[in-house]
Amino acid sequence: MAAGHAPTRAELVEKARDIYDDLDFGAVRRWLAEHPGRKAAGYLPVYVPREIIHACGLLPVGIHGGGDRLEIIRGDAFYQSYICHLPRSVIELAQSGRLDMLSAVLFPSTCDVIRNLSGMWKLLYPDAYVRYIDVPQTPDREAGADFWESELRRLVDDLGAVSGHHPTDADLRASVELYNQTRAMVRSLYAARRERPWDLPSEELYVLLRAGEMIPPEEFIQLAREYLAAVEAEPGRPRDNSRVVVVGAFCEQPPLGLIISIERAGCYVVDDDFLLGNRFLLRDVPLDGDPVRALAEAFVSNDQCTSVLYESDPLGKKRVMQERVAAAGADGIIFATPSFCDPALLDQPMLRSGAEKACIPCIAFKYAENTGQFQQFREQAGTFADSIKLWGAA
């Protein structure tokens, strides 16, 4: 990029793509080299409090599997064929030394596969700090907040010991503020795509967000800001596509080719749950008061409806897809779920029946992060887009 010129959209996407494509986590390694004495902490999907990692002076690093570019040599020896693909590629990354720069790894309570992986990590990498992050599932907000606060304080202490920097309240507050900005930026990107999906192809948005999982939050905000500016400067051309919400891909990520196939088949993705952790908290965390308590309360009062949290409202699962479709101004839903993914697949009948009762067209397919053939997805999505247009015209 030439200095002094605003970077073009292509340049920004390429930069993000380079970070995303790099299975050696070069961006993380560079950051560590440029910051002697500092350390990095990884986390698996879906939600961990990145603010705390950051406040302890560690670089938060998202571990989202190896996608379709990683050859699995060692990972398959750890998992039976009927377990999803994500953990085997994560193990592959680790066993091949690609995650050796992580001083800590957090395993959130997404499902039993990630839960059990936390124990495997303890055995495989005894020098790393490993913590299973059990988020509160009780609908009792007070009890949930108290529990979560104690978990967060424990994390502050432990990660502070890993980094050698025990954060002050001011440090914590600064990190909370920074992540409020990060989430606000992600929301702006999603809002812009929702309004003008022809300007922000999901393929581009996705690589931007993936890059954001490997660079400091300040850099992500800058990159996203530049991207939005570049989009303004180089708008796209609207097409007669159908508008869809993609659901079920919150953990093992679809290969980029799958996202591209959906859009090329005539569907604008106007909402999705890819990389959900980066916008898990829907509202800003208040900056007054105790920052750890504020984070805990923000979690329990958050309205995020996702498969990894207990839904205490009996109508919640029925309603959520209608609400999401309405909010996104979508025409239909694509349930895109990783094969063997308990959370996504167990939820699907409830979500789908709610959607179908509201006469929202739906299709469903399963993928693996290393799926290499997209023809069948393209055909399915294409037929779906056409049928939506037909119904819409009827």
């Binding site: 020896a77 377990i83 059990n116 124990g119 495997m120 303890k122 529990f147 094969s339 308990d342 939820d347």
Partner: protein, 424 residues
């Protein structure tokens, strides 16, 4: 004598179950409240203290598997949109409900007055009751039992559980049953539990004898049935375990092997430790593959999903809610992988096993994710090669008898070869 005693415990269990399911079938008329809950982390004493009847959907599912009904039930659930990839217990349960909800004895199961979602050691539980709630349209109470990620019950986790018990679970039970919480009554049930648990542990540890008078897996799934389900904390439960213990101790004193479907096993040749749940659709065939080879399972982890009593835990009436929290936290699938590995290694050593086997079931990520690592770690620590087989709980499509038999035969040959090597 031993045969007569054996018959008595079996008979007792049969009668207890029949009475329980009859009571459940009559519940809509008698007005007895019904609470559905799960085996790991079940709060049976608390449920009983409200004079409510527990229903354990996993037990119904495994019974459907043994009665060869699960294949149809699963097909029914899959037709209704449930994925082929998820736990077959859930689909079996949903299929059973949609097919008239006839329980193990052929009697209709009542609807729940409350779904007590004891969220212990398995993610699927959360979805299972979210799904059932849609079908039954009844109240649900979540009881979140934190996972022992670091291998211990952390004090904050215990306080969190206590608070949920006081502020969520008990009020929900009061509302569903129309009865007040009675702590003395709870203590009474807990004291009965502890008695039965002492006797159960004596039964389980009888596996240390040579020959073992019990099969610690196939036989023991029957033995743990009452305590894992509706009968912990009841007089019937106490009576059952007292009787069973006497039978087992007598068999041990006489130097007898375990009872198998083909009669008493004589001439124990292999002593095994097993990790993972059994297959239920071909349970007898599966067992026979072991007993034909004179292989006895001396200890297993599956028989600890409803409590790890053999490591010392007993329900404690002096701390009624605290003991329930401790119980839930310690159930096998709530333990992290290093703790599971330690447990298997201890069994191998203390029960003098010649080998260990993992039955990995497709349904269950809670058990299965990480089992290949467990295999390697246990092999490394004990120096004993393990066997790994794959099947499912109640989906008959995933039980390949020929493959499993072959695998077992070669495993037993390997044990023989190792023995020869050692004596050579």
């Amino acid at each position: 004598m031993a045969e007569a005693l054996k018959d008595r415990s079996m008979l007792l269990q049969k009668e207890m179950l029949a009475r329980h399911f009859e009571r459940l079938a009559r519940a809509p008329e008698t007005g007895e409240p019904v609470v559905y809950t799960f085996v790991p982390g079940n709060l049976t004493e608390l449920i009983r203290s409200f004079d409510a009847l527990p229903v354990l959907p996993e037990i119904n599912a495994l019974q459907s598997g043994m009665r060869k009904l699960s294949g149809d039930y699963i097909a029914e659930a899959e037709r209704a949109g449930h994925s082929e990839d998820v736990c077959t217990y859930v689909k079996c349960d949903i299929g059973m409900m949609r097919s008239g909800n006839l329980g193990p004895g052929g009697l209709k199961l009542p609807k729940p007055d409350l779904l007590l979602l004891s969220y212990t050691g398995c993610y699927t539980f959360m979805k299972w009751f979210e799904l059932l709630r849609e079908e039954y349209d009844c109240p649900t109470v979540m009881f979140h039992v934190p996972y022992q990620g670091d291998g211990v019950l952390e004090p904050e986790h215990r306080s969190y559980m206590l608070r949920q018990l006081r502020e969520q679970v008990i009020p929900a039970l009061e509302k569903a049953t129309g009865r007040k919480y009675d702590e003395d009554k709870l203590r009474h049930h807990l004291a009965l539990s502890a008695k039965a648990e002492d006797d159960l542990v004596a039964v389980l540890q009888a596996g240390k004898n040579r020959p073992s008078p019990i099969d610690g897996y196939f036989g023991t799934v029957y033995y743990v049935g009452p305590i894992f389900s509706a009968f912990r904390g009841t007089e019937e439960g106490v009576e059952y375990y007292r009787t069973l213990r006497a039978e087992v101790e007598e068999r041990a004193a006489l130097g007898l092997g375990p009872i198998t479907p083909d009669g008493p096993l004589e001439g124990e040749r292999y002593r095994l430790v097993v990790e993972g749940p059994p297959n239920w659709t071909s349970f007898r065939d599966f067992w026979k593959m072991f007993s034909d080879e004179k292989a006895v399972v001396v200890a297993s982890t599956y028989t600890k999903v409803g409590g790890t009593y053999d490591f010392g835990f007993r329900h404690d009436p002096s701390d009624p809610l605290g003991t329930l929290a401790d119980y839930c936290s310690g159930c096998y699938t709530n333990l992290n992988l290093p703790s599971r590995i330690d447990m298997i290694c201890r069994y191998i050593e203390e029960y003098q096993a010649d080998g260990f086997l993992i039955n990995s079931v497709k349904s269950c990520n809670s058990f299965s994710a990480g089992q290949l690592m467990i295999l390697r770690e246990v092999e490394k620590r004990t120096g004993i090669p393990g066997a790994f087989i794959e099947s499912d709980l109640v989906d008959p499509r995933y039980f390949s008898a020929a493959n499993i038999k072959n695998r077992l035969e070669s495993y037993f040959q390997m044990i023989d070869a190792r023995r020869l090597g050692k004596t050579a």
